[in-house]
Symmetry: C2
Subunit: 179 residues, 2 copies
């Protein structure tokens, strides 16, 4: 039984308590196939993903431990590192704007596709923006023009992990209808 979109966006939440159950390879492949369909400026697809699992994930976990934060990631079986790459825009547009003007928006979109597809597959995620960027860049052999933007912890929640109510601004606080 497929989830509706409303169910997905209401169910997706940051999970900070993972079981040690590994994520099936097929599911990881489905996640990146969803990311593949993300729209981007001039279809530039300015991203590179590293899906790191099992014992190999040690370096990601180490890079995530900053000032006592993110300790919960020790138990998480999989991490996807989202790297922003130099974007190639269409001629005419590229000449008028900085080529990276849209790339960060595009990576934000790609992470949404990933986390919503994960929810669709019964997985839990936590989007992490707080890490030792240099450590990750070095371990992954990134060039200077490639920036680690976000890391998404991916796995199964511990038994009994509850869906929290979403705390958000009211629509009236961030939307103006004109017309």
């Amino acid at each position: 039984m497929a989830y509706s979109f409303d169910e997905l966006i209401n169910t997706r939440q940051s999970c900070r308590s993972y079981s040690d159950k590994p994520v099936e390879k097929e599911k990881l492949e489905e996640l990146v196939k969803a990311v593949r369909l993300t729209p981007s400026a001039c279809n530039s697809q300015p991203w590179k993903l590293f899906v790191v699992t099992g014992e190999k994930a040690r370096f990601v976990k180490d890079a995530l431990q900053l000032m006592g934060r993110n300790k919960f990631t020790e138990d998480c079986p999989a991490f996807t590192v989202f790297v922003e790459k130099p974007a190639t825009l269409k001629a005419g547009i590229a000449e008028m704007v900085s080529s990276q003007k849209f790339a960060q928006l595009d990576v934000g979109a790609a992470v949404s596709y990933y986390t919503l597809k994960a929810t669709d597959l019964g997985l839990q995620t936590c989007i992490l923006g707080w890490f030792d960027e240099k450590k990750l860049s070095n371990a992954l052999g990134l060039s200077k023009s490639e920036k680690v933007r976000l890391v998404v912890a991916t796995g199964y929640a511990v038994d009994g992990y509850e869906l929290r109510e979403k705390v958000r601004k009211d629509v009236s606080e961030f939307v103006d209808f004109i017309g």
Copy 2:
């Protein structure tokens, strides 16, 4: 009958040929309710949306006409302008990073929630990053710290508008599995 997530991401595409059928107010409200649930860094929700419809949309259409681009927007009945606002991050994080470090990623995520919900409602969209930013900022009375990031044309496609095949890199071109 609800769409599955895979159906949504395969069906969403940039529409450049709109019928003049207005978008129902209830649907516009559903779109912004979906945006409301978008995750953001420290739950900062660093966005402001202007949903502009009907004759009032003249200033948006004018701002979109640049060097002969975006002419198709003349027929589009609704536009949502996504503005990035100063983000308020948690103490401890705000002190360590520029407060806007994550805001652009967050806006990119919000636009995804919007366009996927639009697809879910049978609407078509086109994400536009190319416009006269000053014209839009002035018309909307934005402050210097508020940046127009994207405009999303929203409406119904003309009859017979076809679903195009998606052109994307192969997964192997942008994903490394490590583990």
